[in-house]
């Protein structure tokens, strides 16, 4: 009896429930909007405090002058060198992180058996979980002294480990490709061996020469762009790996099986078929990596040297640089906040630039992913 009453609702009860539902929905919507709008609030408040700087001093000097003398009388706020420092460190980190990141993603998605992958995945995630200040501590206390004491030798060793197999492989492949095809079997073999040896000795010479140059390098200061980039690269790696891996997985089984059926090896399948199909996903992974590296503060503050200069030559990673994030973190404590000085506002201006850049990256990444998803669904 009672249950039937409950199932068949009276008109009043129905209306009451409906009103309740609407109210609840409105509540949910409001809370969600507040949470989502936080990002707009951030944009607003950063821009509000950045505005006085731009309106007083314009944008020209800020973006194009290298003279960063905030404490000089009169102060100069040319942030070009700082922007360059951020770009250099981020760029180097991405260059260092993308090849191993993509290779690792390929390994995870196509080479390792499922069980091993299940174990490795959390291990790689750990790299991203370690707090940045711990990385900074590591860079300052372990990596920087190592680089300073025996930087040349470390770089030379890294060069040998990476370049020896690569050049060996390149020699073999080049010899194979360049051997004329019309020779008899024995002659062909001889020619190929000779060519291989020739390339090998050439590449050994190159290896030894570069190795010697690197080995002789004196690292004047262990906290420099390279130290910061290496750590930033490591911090960006897990993001790059996991997002690329998702993209590679999403490329689908049929594609792979088709390629194998045509007689391609696994490497050929992955490089020529799967990777191009997943390219946009990999690209958005790289974008996320860039954002991670650019926005990182503690590591660059502790390990980049904080010199407001553009290295000479610009690619000299062994010189100290200064980044946007480190400048904000380091200068805010000293900036004369009470008079609303230009130095206070210029830090917000830098924050605004960081914010706008990360917005752009984010939207671009999202756009790429959506497009890819649509295409996959459509295809």
């Amino acid at each position: 009896m009672r249950t039937s009453e409950h199932i068949i609702l009276s008109a009043g009860e129905k209306a009451r429930r409906k009103a309740f539902g609407l109210l609840g929905r409105a509540f949910l919507f409001t809370v969600t909007s507040v949470a989502a709008m936080a990002v707009l609030a951030i944009l607003f408040f950063i821009a509000r405090d950045a505005w006085p700087f731009f309106s007083d001093r314009g944008v020209g000097d800020f973006f194009f002058s290298k003279a960063w003398y905030p404490a000089h009388q009169p102060p100069q706020f040319g942030a070009a060198a700082i922007f360059a420092g951020s770009l250099l460190v981020t760029g180097a980190a991405v260059v260092l992180a993308v090849p191993p990141g993509v290779f690792a993603a390929l390994c995870m998605s196509d080479i390792l058996p499922f069980n091993v992958r299940q174990v490795l995945k959390p291990v790689i995630e750990m790299l991203a979980a370690i707090p940045s200040v711990a990385y900074g501590f590591f860079a300052l206390v372990v990596l920087a002294p190592l680089l300073q004491e025996s930087g040349g030798r470390v770089l030379a060793a890294a060069w040998w480990v990476l370049a020896l197999p690569a050049l060996f492989l390149a020699s073999v492949v080049a010899a194979d490709l360049l051997t004329p095809g019309r020779l008899s079997h024995a002659a062909h073999r001889l020619a190929r061996t000779l060519l291989t040896l020739c390339f090998l000795s050439l590449s050994l010479a190159l290896l030894a020469h570069v190795g010697r140059v690197l080995g002789g390098l004196q690292v004047a200061s262990g906290v420099n762009a390279l130290t910061a980039s290496v750590i930033l690269g490591v911090m960006a790696l897990p993001t790059i790996v996991s997002v690329s891996e998702d993209a590679l997985q999403a490329a689908g089984r049929e594609l792979r099986e088709g390629s194998y059926a045509l007689g391609a090896t696994r490497a050929e399948t992955l490089v020529k078929v799967v990777f191009p199909a997943a390219l946009s996903g990999v690209f958005s992974a790289v974008l996320l990596g860039v954002m991670r590296a650019l926005g990182e503060t503690m590591v660059v503050w502790m390990a980049s040297g904080n010199a407001a200069q553009i290295p000479k030559p610009w690619y000299n990673l062994l010189q100290p640089v200064r980044t946007l994030t480190a400048t904000i973190a380091g200068d805010m404590g000293e900036a004369d906040q009470m008079t609303g000085s230009a130095h206070y506002h210029v830090l917000f201006a830098m924050g605004l630039c960081l914010l706008l850049f990360s917005f752009t990256c984010n939207l671009a990444g999202e756009w790429i992913v959506t497009r890819q998803r649509k295409r996959l669904r459509g295809g």
Binding site: G21, G24, L28, T32, A35, A36, M37, A38, V39, L40, A41, I42, F45, I46, D49, A104, C107, M108, L120, P122, V123, I124, E125, M126, A129, I130, P131, S132, A134, G136, F137, F138, L140, V142, P165, D176, L177, V234, L237, V241, T265, R266, A267, G295, E296, T297, M298, M302, T325, I328, M332, L347, F348, G351, L354, L355, S358, C361, N362, E366
Partner: protein, 446 residues
């Protein structure tokens, strides 16, 4: 291309891919190795009698009678050293002027070195700084301090770049009353300092004494816990509600796309910008507290972890089988009722995963709390003062200790201990999340 070359390339490719994964694992070990290896040294080390004496004086911990006996024994062993110092001090005025002039600074250095090694001489007034009231408390540092006494560090500039030269002091004092001191320091160190394996769990909870020379990281740990819990307390309700809205209520359309984009963008905001925002909004505009405070820090961190909470809760809700919901609806439950009694409980482990990961993130972040919550020295914060009081925190104080402290090298073990504790907290939280996730996956499969 020949088949063999193709095969070679294929193998090389596999090798390179595995190498990349191996490289990451190696680097993880390369980072964690020193941090945990040396970090353990803050908890387990070979402590001297000076350490035990300090623990009794400063923290009232330890077996007083036993340490007193040990201390008496050590003093007994040290007596000849103090006697030699006193005897030489008397002898010094009688030495020929040239020799006196040469030996005086060396004697001063030896005497200071002995004070560093063994603490102030008996009968001397107690120094004002706690760090000078005791000798070396950690055995691994003793050898270096002994070397400082036995040798004078000079630099030889004759060949361009200077080379460090250790000049032994013993020959200088040959034939004086100080001569017996040197062999004592070379043979009898254990009797002087009584090293013993020491387990110091109090490092985790003790307050620091004299700018982290002694004691532990209690206030920092507590600050980190307050900040992380506070951030979650603020972020979780918002996060779950937003996730429910996105998954169960929202209709596809421009508004939803916009809100989603906002959340995704929030996830990409650099952490230092959160700090700037916390300063500009919570402190300078809203005046949630007069200056830095736990509250301002927790609010800032809450914003930082919000996207993670939303995303993981969404995933968890989306993973709840459709049939659960349909079943509930079929039984006549309203949407509200279904969400509260069926969907959320089923999604709880997944939501918990996100919460735990966010907690790790909030505990480890530094940049957002620099301007909003962190101070370099402070007591354990009383819960009643959370709204107004700033706090030390592991992350910020690790930065502070390894870059700003006046004796960076003397307290390396504290820095390592702090780093290890912070990393351990974060990794344990992440591991918990992984375990929960694995259990959920198994349950969904089964």
């Amino acid at each position: 291309m020949r088949m063999t070359t193709r095969k070679l390339l294929d193998r090389a490719f596999t090798a390179a891919a595995c190498f990349a994964v191996g490289l990451m694992v190696l680097f993880l070990l390369f980072v964690l190795g020193p941090i945990f290896g040396k970090g353990a040294g803050a908890y387990v080390f070979t402590g001297t009698v000076e350490h035990r004496r300090m623990m009794i004086d400063q923290f009232g911990r330890g077996d007083e009678a036993r340490v007193a006996a040990e201390w008496a024994g050590a003093q007994q062993a040290r007596r000849p050293i103090y006697d030699a110092l006193a005897a030489f001090e008397k002898e010094l005025p009688q030495l020929p002027a040239a020799k006196r002039k040469a030996l005086k600074p060396a004697f001063k250095a030896v005497r200071e070195g002995v004070a560093v090694l063994l603490g102030p001489e008996p009968g001397e007034p107690l120094p004002a700084l706690t760090r000078k009231m005791y000798g070396q408390t950690r055995w691994e540092k003793v050898q270096a301090k002994v070397t400082d006494i036995l040798f004078e560090e000079t630099w030889d500039y004759s060949e361009g770049a200077g080379k460090k030269v250790l000049v032994p002091r013993q020959p200088m004092f040959e034939g004086t009353a100080l001569a017996p001191l040197f062999p004592l320091l070379q043979t009898d160190l254990t009797a002087l300092l009584r090293p013993r394996l020491t387990f110091y769990p109090g490092f985790l909870t003790d307050v620091s004494v004299d700018a982290h020379f002694f004691g532990g990281i209690g206030p920092e740990l507590l600050g980190t816990i307050y900040l992380a819990l506070g951030a979650l307390l603020l972020a979780v309700p918002f996060g779950i509600i937003a996730a429910v809205y996105f998954q169960e209520y929202a209709k596809e359309g421009a508004v939803l796309t916009f809100l989603r984009t906002c959340v995704n963008t929030l996830a990409g905001v650099p952490s230092v910008v959160f700090g700037l925002f916390g300063l500009a909004f919570f402190i300078n505009t809203m005046h949630v507290s007069p200056g830095k405070s736990v509250l301002a820090g927790a609010l800032t961190l809450a914003l930082l972890v919000l996207p993670t909470v939303i995303r993981s809760s969404e995933e968890a809700i989306a993973a709840v089988p459709r049939s659960y919901k349909e079943g509930a609806m079929a039984l006549g439950a309203g949407q509200w009722h279904t969400v509260l009694t069926v969907i959320l409980p089923a999604a709880l482990p997944g939501i918990l995963t996100g919460i735990v990961i966010s907690m790790g993130r909030a505990a480890g972040e530094t940049a957002p709390i620099i301007f909003t919550a962190a101070v370099s020295v402070g007591k354990l914060v009383n819960p009643a003062e959370l709204l107004t009081q700033p706090t030390p925190a592991l992350s910020w104080n690790l930065y502070n200790l390894c870059t700003e402290h006046e004796a960076v090298d003397e307290i390396r073990h504290v820095q390592y201990g702090m780093a290890a504790t912070l990393v351990l907290i974060v990794l344990v939280l992440n591991l918990t999340a992984i375990l929960i996730r694995a259990r959920v996956a198994r349950r969904l499969k089964g």
